[in-house]
Amino acid sequence: MKTGNITRRTMLKGLGTITVGLPFLEEMMAATPAKAAASAVPVRAFNVFFGLGIPTPLQEEGFAGVMEPLKELSDKLLIMRHVDHVRGDQPGINAHYDGSTAAFTAEPPNGTARAGGPSIDQVVRATHYPDGMPSDMVPTLVGGTFFRRDRVSRYTKSFALDGTVAATMQEEPRDVFERVFGNVPGTDEGDPRRMRLKRSILDSTMDQYHYYTGPNSPLGAASRARVAEHLDRIREYEKRAFAQESRKFKAPQMPPDSKLPHGGVADPGGEGIDITLEDLTAEWRLMADLYALAIQCDRVRFGSINFLAAGERIRLKGDYIFNGEKRFHFDDGAQRKSGGANGCSHEWWHAFNEDKPNEQLRAHAHMKLREVTYFLKRLDDPEFNDPNGKSVLENSMITISTESGDGRHNDPKRELSGIFHAITGANGRFKTGQIMDVKAEGIDVYNTMLTAMGCERKIGPEKRDFSSVDKIRA
């Protein structure tokens, strides 16, 4: 699958005809600067996750090593080394699916499908939008290109205040398109009467959901939050279906059906799948384009996107080209002389040895950061600069997280140490342009970030003295 970038220009130029929700088009049609004059820079927070991580010794190489792709954005990033997930590091915790949950939550998971607490983006959201997001926005967008899926926490990286997933995973570009831009079906545009009657059903339903989220609700906090979530979705539906008329409009073509496996077949019993680099990156980049466009059009302010799952198992094939230069030829199955799980790139992480070249791992990690950079660059597009003249990338709090895939045992009580972290400046709140040896616990880094974002709530286990990591603040 080959796709080009989707830009505002191509969006408006229009290649096909599709029904697109008018609120979105309104946003798109309005000149961003004009809108900018009247509004402040919105608070946004996103997490970008990539699977399997960067072994600590390779982080020490800075941009000369596998972090090379991040170099072109280095002045807009704070790369943090020596950040430990001590709070997620408990007996019996598995680095891949449990440890990765600690990234930007600072807690081990609480069940196979949820974290021990909220992720940092959702705390920011709850602080700045205590009454919920505007109903014409997608409250939280979770998307990603990934395959391993036996545990939800492997691939979902945005968690609500109660630790449950903050939004349903949209795992195909088409899903993201429909979730963000597509018009909702179920309204009959040719029959105003019918639309009015459908609206009355929606009003009735909303009244009842209101009751269950209100002060007289018989429900407990957890249940009220769930029903409130349902109400939010209905409001969003209402906005898209009824608030403004939808029209057939020239817009980009609906993304093609994905060529890659999704759903259960993407993870055949943990044995991994064969995939080409071209197919993998083509789908990811389309996903990244759409996700970035959703942010740039201010349809989304919070969420997460991930490139490959924690503990991902793929057997990748193809030439790896970086800046026009062939860097490596991926052929995991042949290079590992094995099929099934043992032939997957995952095993390069297990085989990591600081004293050896680790060529395959290096190439995979480099490629992952190339793709993460691709997404970040989309957010750095000056065409979508915020009112303050800075890019979305510069103004948003974007966290880049990963996992400990190689199992460093530098301290038997700290298996999850030295995890790669990076953040953006969040509109001048954090230092950028450096690689910093933070030497702190993730929980303190995250809570320092929350303080800087104006959040009183802290994440991580309660009843613990907070130790601010001021050196990351601008």
Partner: protein, 854 residues
């Protein structure tokens, strides 16, 4: 005096009752403290080394009786005196846990308090699976109807079947903590909102709205609309409407009226609104305040979703209307009645499917190099086997649930039966069209008789009797020979020419997977290059060559099957060719290849002889055993082929020692992955059958199933891990549980040697959690019997079923409820019926927890 005495006595009695009640409350509080504070500490910090299996320092803190025992240095726990308790002495100075993070200050305070307060245990055993779980995991989440519950509820409430549409529109649910109905993970997406709207419209569109309204709301008129809405709403929302809800639905009807809609339309739109309301989509209970007894409608709904996974029927609603359902005896009778309904079976199969995670079979793709016969169809049949087995044991035979572990029966498709080497016998559903039939039932001699009854028998003669072996219903060709018709097959060829259709059906066991030529199984020919039809073997595949006027006498190109499908097992092969020239090849009842060739049989030579096991010149010998050969002058339809292959049927496994019970079924054996990992199989047994837990592997440990090689079987690798001190703490608890399964490969086929020639074992010693002594076994079937006889396994059924019913993970604080349900279920025979009755009538189902309780 009398009155005074009475009053004084009453006062004393009151004091006694109060004291007793206060003591009971104290005990309850102490037990709760143990469940919520102490058991998690023991689970998290101590049991890795000090449980029944490891017992480091001869200390077992997982069992009450052992923890209260005496070591050489003194008592581990001295109730009422922490300072004298070895446990406290070791913990307070961080001497324990060794090489692990110490207890926090709070944890230490709790432990000390507990001992000083008398060291009350809530149960005899600490359950690490439940006690390490954060109580928030079981918060009182409102339950959204799962997709299946939604479909069933619509069906029960309206009679409309929307299964296919719902499957298409509703996002799929994901597993969380072992089940897909875990309430905390039943999140809501935009696509749900869209789907519920579309499905509601669809239901109302298919419904006879006015009849529905009359049935549930009485006479339908505009004046009576409030009553009609009330009646329909109560039925759909499973309880009487609240005034606000009623008003809300009436507003919808009014909106229709304002738009000049008629009565039917008013009712229709109100119905659509009801089907999207929270009262319909969620199982909302009144709650409020402290924990309280469920009201009649709440109880009806709880029981109904527990037993059927659907809404209450009219009878249950009537029992709720009258409040009778709150009477234990009425409730029990209702549950008994509901368990006689097919919906209860459906619900139980859903439980089995989720508990055993059978859905993952659809996604498996074992390495085709090692497992060439794997197909999605076979995977589906494996899933079907387990569900049908469950149905047979639980519902048909009404056996106790523990017999699922060792019941000597199964229900298998022909292909799965072949996969398992189950004893199969050729079937013949319809003799119509037979032109030749050889059943090999002669037992001796050099003639194979044609039993088709079609004209003059076309008997076959064995050229060298010394090269064959007769047995009951089969003939083995142990060496090169030829079996040839005494006369040309003229009669048969004429019939085939006339009908222009053909079926060739063969039951064979292959003896040489490398024979080629093609090696002739069946041939109607005059020599190696001149034939009417030939079925041959080319090493790992079969080929059928058929002469037609367009193709010519050699019959090439023929129909080739996929490679590596030839096995030494008994296989049922069928080739059919219809008038249009479409050829189909079936293996064990399943279509595996098709081809299309031009022409008919007009140029078939009527002078050719029919041959088995060789070509007429002796140049294409085949070795193996024939069980049946049949030729028809018609095309057998797929269903008949499937039936002739044996169909899906019940097998008595009394004489099949390697099969019997869930753990010998391929659906579960595939859990080990391609390499049949003892780690993953052992963990499955530990987690899902024995309800115990060990932590996940530490970060960085390579958890990839390791490939076997010569001298390194799975058993050898497992024993090395167990011998390794750094691994044995956990691995010794679960890998031995899979020792009895080593002879089953990654897809569940049985073999005594692996592909490297390593001898595979099935002996071992079963270490059940909580049982100090290991129980030795020599054979897999003994392991199955031990598991079936284990109280631990038995109790696990109770836990799993209760979790599934409640839609949340169980906690330590549920232990009393589990014990009570289990005891009641065992009194009733330990069957599914007795267990579900115990659950549906249990205190935990009759009580609505305080919504504020975490």
């Amino acid at each position: 005096m009398g009155k005074f005495w009475f009053v004084r006595s009453l006062g004393a009695l009151g004091a006694i009752v109060c004291a007793a009640s206060s003591a009971a409350a104290d005990t309850l509080a102490a037990e709760r403290f143990f469940d919520e504070r102490i058991a998690p500490i023991l689970s998290k910090h101590c049991l890795e080394c000090h449980d029944t299996t490891i017992r480091e320092g001869k200390l077992d803190l997982s069992q009450k009786h052992a923890a209260m025992g005496e070591l050489k240095r003194g008592f581990v726990i001295v109730p009422g005196d922490a300072e004298k308790s070895l446990l406290w002495q070791e913990v307070q100075n961080d001497d324990m846990p060794e090489d692990r993070p110490p207890l926090s200050k709070e944890e230490k305070e709790d432990l000390k308090k507990w001992i000083n307060d008398g060291a009350v245990w809530s149960a005899d055993e600490v359950d690490p699976m439940a006690h390490t779980r954060d109580p928030k995991a079981a918060s009182n989440w409102v339950q959204r109807l799962t997709n299946r519950e939604y479909v069933r509820t619509i069906r029960t409430a309206t009679g409309v079947d929307i299964e296919k549409e719902a499957e298409k529109l509703l996002p799929k649910e994901l597993r969380a903590d072992g089940f897909s109905n875990t309430a905390y993970n039943l999140t809501i997406d935009m696509s749900h909102i869209v789907a519920y709207g579309q499905l509601a419209e669809r239901v109302v569109g298919e419904l006879d709205v006015m009849a529905f309204a009359r049935k549930h709301g009485g006479e339908v008129s505009e004046e009576r609309l409030p009553a009609v809405v009330e009646g329909m709403g109560k039925w759909l929302l499973r309880r009487p409407l609240k005034p606000d809800e009623k008003a809300s639905f009436l507003k919808v009807a009014q909106a229709v009226k304002d738009e000049q809609g008629d009565l039917k339309e008013m009712v229709s739109y109100a119905l659509e609104a009801m089907l999207q309301s929270p009262g319909f989509l969620y199982r909302i209970e009144a709650g409020g305040g402290d924990s309280q007894s469920a009201g009649p409608y709440e109880l009806a709904s709880r029981v109904s979703y527990a037993v059927w996974g659907s809404s209450p029927d009219e009878e249950l609603m009537k029992a709720a209307d009258r409040g009778e359902i709150l009477q234990p005896e009425v409730l029990r009778r209702q549950v008994e009645r509901m368990l006689d309904d097919p919906r209860a079976i459906d619900r139980s199969l859903e439980f089995a499917d989720q508990w055993l995670n059978l859905g993952r079979l659809a996604n498996l793709k074992p390495d085709p190099v090692h497992f060439p016969l794997w197909t999605g169809g076979l995977a589906a049949e494996m899933r079907e086997e387990t569900l049908e087995f469950f149905r047979e044991v639980v519902w048909q035979r009404k056996r106790p649930l523990n017999e699922l572990l060792n019941a000597n029966l199964t229900v298998a498709s022909p292909r799965l039966a072949a996969h398992y080497h189950l004893p199969r016998h050729p079937q013949l559903k319809d003799r119509k069209g037979l032109v030749a039939l050889y059943e090999f039932d002669e037992g001796s001699g050099n003639v194979v008789h044609d039993r088709s009854g079609h004209g003059e028998p076309m008997n076959l003669k064995i050229s060298d009797e010394s090269k064959v072996e007769w047995a009951d219903g089969r003939l083995r060709l142990k060496d090169k020979t030829l079996i040839r018709s005494e006369k040309p097959f003229t009669r048969g060829v004429k019939s085939l020419k006339n009908s222009k259709e053909l079926t060739l059906e063969v039951w064979v066991e292959n003896e040489d997977l490398n024979q080629d030529g093609p090696a002739r199984l069946v041939s109607l020919s005059s020599g190696p290059s001149e034939r009417n039809i030939t079925l041959g073997q080319i090493k790992g595949l079969y080929e059928v060559r058929v002469r037609t006027p367009q193709i010519g006498g050699n019959g090439l190109p023929g129909l080739e099957t996929p490679d590596r499908i030839v096995t030494p097992r008994l296989n049922h092969l069928v080739y059919t060719r219809d008038r249009e020239g479409k050829g189909k090849f079936y293996l064990d009842g399943e279509l595996i290849n098709t081809t299309s060739t031009a022409g008919n049989f007009d140029n078939w030579n009527e002078g050719f002889h029919l041959m088995l096991g060789n070509e007429s010149d002796g140049s294409r010998p085949w070795r193996g055993t024939f069980h049946r050969v049949a030729i028809y002058d018609r095309v057998l339809p797929a269903e008949e082929v499937y039936e002739n292959a044996g169909g899906r049927r019940l097998y008595d496994l009394a004489g099949v020692r390697e099969r019997g019970g869930l753990l010998t079924q391929a659906s579960l054996l595939t859990i080990g992955g391609d390499e049949a990992s003892m780690v993953t199989r052992g963990l499955f047994v530990l987690h899902d059958l024995l309800h115990s837990a060990v932590g996940s592997a530490p970060p960085g440990v390579d958890t990839t199933p390791q490939p076997t090689k010569a001298g390194m079987s799975q058993r050898v690798m497992a024993e090395r891990r167990i011998d390794d001190k750094s691994c044995s703490g956990c691995h010794s608890k679960f890998e031995p549980l899979a020792f009895g399964l080593e002879r089953y490969d990654g897809v569940g086929a049985y073999s005594e040697k692996d592909r490297h020639g390593n001898a595979l074992r099935e002996d071992g010693a079963l270490r059940l959690p909580g049982v100090p002594e290991a129980l030795p076994f020599d054979r897999a079937e003994q392991l199955m019997d031990m598991l079936a006889g284990s109280e631990r396994v038995n109790r696990n059924f109770t836990r799993k079923m209760l979790q599934f019913t409640l839609g949340r993970p169980l906690l330590g604080s549920d232990s009393r409820a589990i014990a009570a349900i289990h005891e009641k279920s065992q009194e009733g025979g330990g069957t599914y019926r007795s267990l579900m009755t115990a659950i549906a009538t249990s205190e935990i189902l009759r009580t609505i927890p305080n919504p504020q309780t975490p």
